[in-house]
Symmetry: C3
Amino acid sequence: MAGTKRTDSDPSGVGRRGFLAAGAGAFLCTIGGENILVGKPGDAAKADAAAARVKRPAGAKSRPAATVPGADPVDQLRFGTPTPQPGGRTREYWIQATAVVWDIMPNRPRRDYWHGMPVAGPTNFRAFVYQEMTEGFADTKGPAAMPGPTLHCEVGDVLKVHVRNALPDKYAQAITMHPHGVRYTPDYDGSYIGDFTRAGGFIGPGEEFTYTWEALPESVGAWPYHDHGPNHTLNTMRGLYGGIIIRPKGAPKPDVEKMLFFHSLSPPTTGLTRVFQCINGRAYAGNTPTIRAKAGQDVALHAIGMDDNFHDFHIHGHRWHKDGGSFMTDCQSLGPGETVTARFVEDNPGRWLYHCHVFSHQDNGMAGFYLVTR
Amino acid sequence: MAGTKRTDSDPSGVGRRGFLAAGAGAFLCTIGGENILVGKPGDAAKADAAAARVKRPAGAKSRPAATVPGADPVDQLRFGTPTPQPGGRTREYWIQATAVVWDIMPNRPRRDYWHGMPVAGPTNFRAFVYQEMTEGFADTKGPAAMPGPTLHCEVGDVLKVHVRNALPDKYAQAITMHPHGVRYTPDYDGSYIGDFTRAGGFIGPGEEFTYTWEALPESVGAWPYHDHGPNHTLNTMRGLYGGIIIRPKGAPKPDVEKMLFFHSLSPPTTGLTRVFQCINGRAYAGNTPTIRAKAGQDVALHAIGMDDNFHDFHIHGHRWHKDGGSFMTDCQSLGPGETVTARFVEDNPGRWLYHCHVFSHQDNGMAGFYLVTR
Amino acid sequence: MAGTKRTDSDPSGVGRRGFLAAGAGAFLCTIGGENILVGKPGDAAKADAAAARVKRPAGAKSRPAATVPGADPVDQLRFGTPTPQPGGRTREYWIQATAVVWDIMPNRPRRDYWHGMPVAGPTNFRAFVYQEMTEGFADTKGPAAMPGPTLHCEVGDVLKVHVRNALPDKYAQAITMHPHGVRYTPDYDGSYIGDFTRAGGFIGPGEEFTYTWEALPESVGAWPYHDHGPNHTLNTMRGLYGGIIIRPKGAPKPDVEKMLFFHSLSPPTTGLTRVFQCINGRAYAGNTPTIRAKAGQDVALHAIGMDDNFHDFHIHGHRWHKDGGSFMTDCQSLGPGETVTARFVEDNPGRWLYHCHVFSHQDNGMAGFYLVTR
């Protein structure tokens, strides 16, 4: 047992490092049927290697053969491509999946502005993100950042999203974009399902695919999108996610609107030595999004869980109708992929904290500032 | 420390086996006042032994004596047996608690149909389940399976449920059936509460008890029932649960309706070497329930948590009114014993995944197929 | 490795003690920028020492200087003190933060009244609590107990809460009182935010501060308050919390109303050898609150999470409108700081269990009795 860090002064048998790695960050992935425990720094490379071994399923080219084990007549169905409702329009996006060196705490010196204290680095790791491009992928349009670009549309519209897999060769593996909230046929589900995979469920290295999704009346709200390819768990955890906002036809945009993804970046994912509890890939107030509004404005903040944990969205000095009903809350729990929308007319100037109310998440960076002017 | 699996390449000190056992499956049981840590294969037998030592409480025969520590006048109350409301009827069920060798992955070869890959066995363990019987327990009527039979009734009806403890001698211990949602007097609560236990809170080996429950207007919905006897935690985790569906008087049954219990089967419970994240006791798509519907049908899917974890019910290609309100969701979290109902008119043919959106649950089997024809 | 408790018969490498300490109780605190792992008995003292080192921020005396890193014009805003709306009144409370030897199981002999069995001690630890005082802190008025006094007011009222830091010298550190639900300016937020801290965010040893909070129409409900000073995570976990109930103007009080805080008291917090899953700082039925009502009464039970875990509030024999909507539940999950209100007209006499439906929480004490007379 030489070399282990446990000592008799740690009778729990779970040292600090173990606590961080196992308690907060380990997860099991099924990748092309291989079980990969991503439990410590370095394991992500094993998951990547497994993902690189996943072969393009036959169904991603044509429909699944009737002879595939478990095949059903529904696998032979053919689907069209939806078009906008009368009066609706097509909203087009070009987005590439790419790798980037991502800094969880970009401010220098690294500082927790809540507690006014320095935080030790390093805080960089290799993230995968969705990046907005100009038409035809001619040039970059937005940053390579977490979250990816927020897709906007109205009920009756169609979202046409061109996705390119621009991951570097070193990480060669298929990715996809799976949306929540919108309506899509199986071809545009963006999910790898082995031999049952349809067209958009496997965008191989260097390839492009165009998703076409409909905004139904029941789609109104804020939703996530994320990778749902062969390596979706690790990829989502390292940044391959973004948001969709769908409004009723002609509805005004809130004066202030923000997507806030709550998720952890842990050693197995990042190769760093500690867990960061993040909002939009950043940890600690001043690094996480600082939201700004002024009194009288219509504010909509959308919190979405994007890891294996449950979180709890709390804003100081404010409260909202839970799920739009009569029950008032200022602290609402949210699971992975689940949306909590805090919407209110701003009436309270000052510097406010917003944070996850899970205490150890808040203490590990899952907090930010909300600044309201008169 | 010879024989342990930890090595220096696992600085967390928590090996794969430890991760599986402690991170996902260990739980503490209080059984007749004994504290049993069910933390690894073999511990279930200790819990069973403790349960076998629990003596029939005096209160299970008559009312608790006024001299029992903590006794209150309410313990001397007498209750009748409810009868149907005018126009209502009695719905009668015969159900036995029994043990069965349960296969978490019954398809051969064992296969994860999502990823199209084999999964290694073994996947069998000794489960406890509720099984529907014909009138008077004359014969078996339904399978010995997870979940137990779904009990159906309408508002104003009475559910009369005859329960027999048919566990093999090897597992001799008291069981009960505790329902959610319905109204019951303390005699029909189906809960062991030591000296305060009433008639239906201790069905000893070989015994029978008849529960009588009322369906109130406020009972409309889908609910779980489960063991709440001396060994309820372990027994519920190894399969002793089922569902109740209560409709308004005369309300039509949805065209497609399914109870989906989300729970883990872990090494301490099963004696197997790994955790399976299950739906209705099965893991991995193709083994978990494959749900079928066709366009235009009224579909109701009821997800209920039935272990120590929180889950998150996601269906691809569909969305629903969260808790019947105005907020739309396609991903709703659920705790132990808590129900999430996804109800919608089917409008989207194809092969769809439904799964827990907790990533490592989804990757460990908590996923299934939903097949929709035109 | 001499002295450790692990043996080859525990292949998980996580012994009972490790399971209890790490699985249920460890948490990381950021205190004045120091990262303290509170992971085992004795670590709380390290957190206290770190808290004692936190210096009064400049902003707690005046407004933050414009030269503070990250300072914003909002930090120079000046705020008044709110007064009641026309027809409203000021409700005044005097409350001290103090330390007390708290018994998790005060009944003797220590007994789990659910299972009718003895529980081994010790069950005492040094808790921090809010205690109600008479006007001007002249004398004690209420017990030094968990939860602190429930603050009551109506819409249009102002809550004026005088808080004194009466912690013993041994624990000398700043505390605060941060409320949920009410409206407050940044001066009355009760949150330590380093250099941005306003007046009420740092009540040093022996000091007093008066918070003034407004009850808005949107504040109706039951809410927590808790420490949000430099050592808030540990302090909240060891008892520094209480409740606020706000009613519409002139609304009648329910016949029975109870705040029920769900939280764990674990070895790192208590120095004891095991975890207790508690309701209001007590574990096991008969020690946790025994609630009493009679048929026909209007009953309101408010469950609030107050640790790092998610819980699930279940009451036997009863059900309620989830969040006041149309969906009925008898089992509703709740996160840290989040409120679940079960409100119903009592119609079911008898002895009932209420408990967390997370099985291992229920088995470790998170349960109580609800006694209903005819």
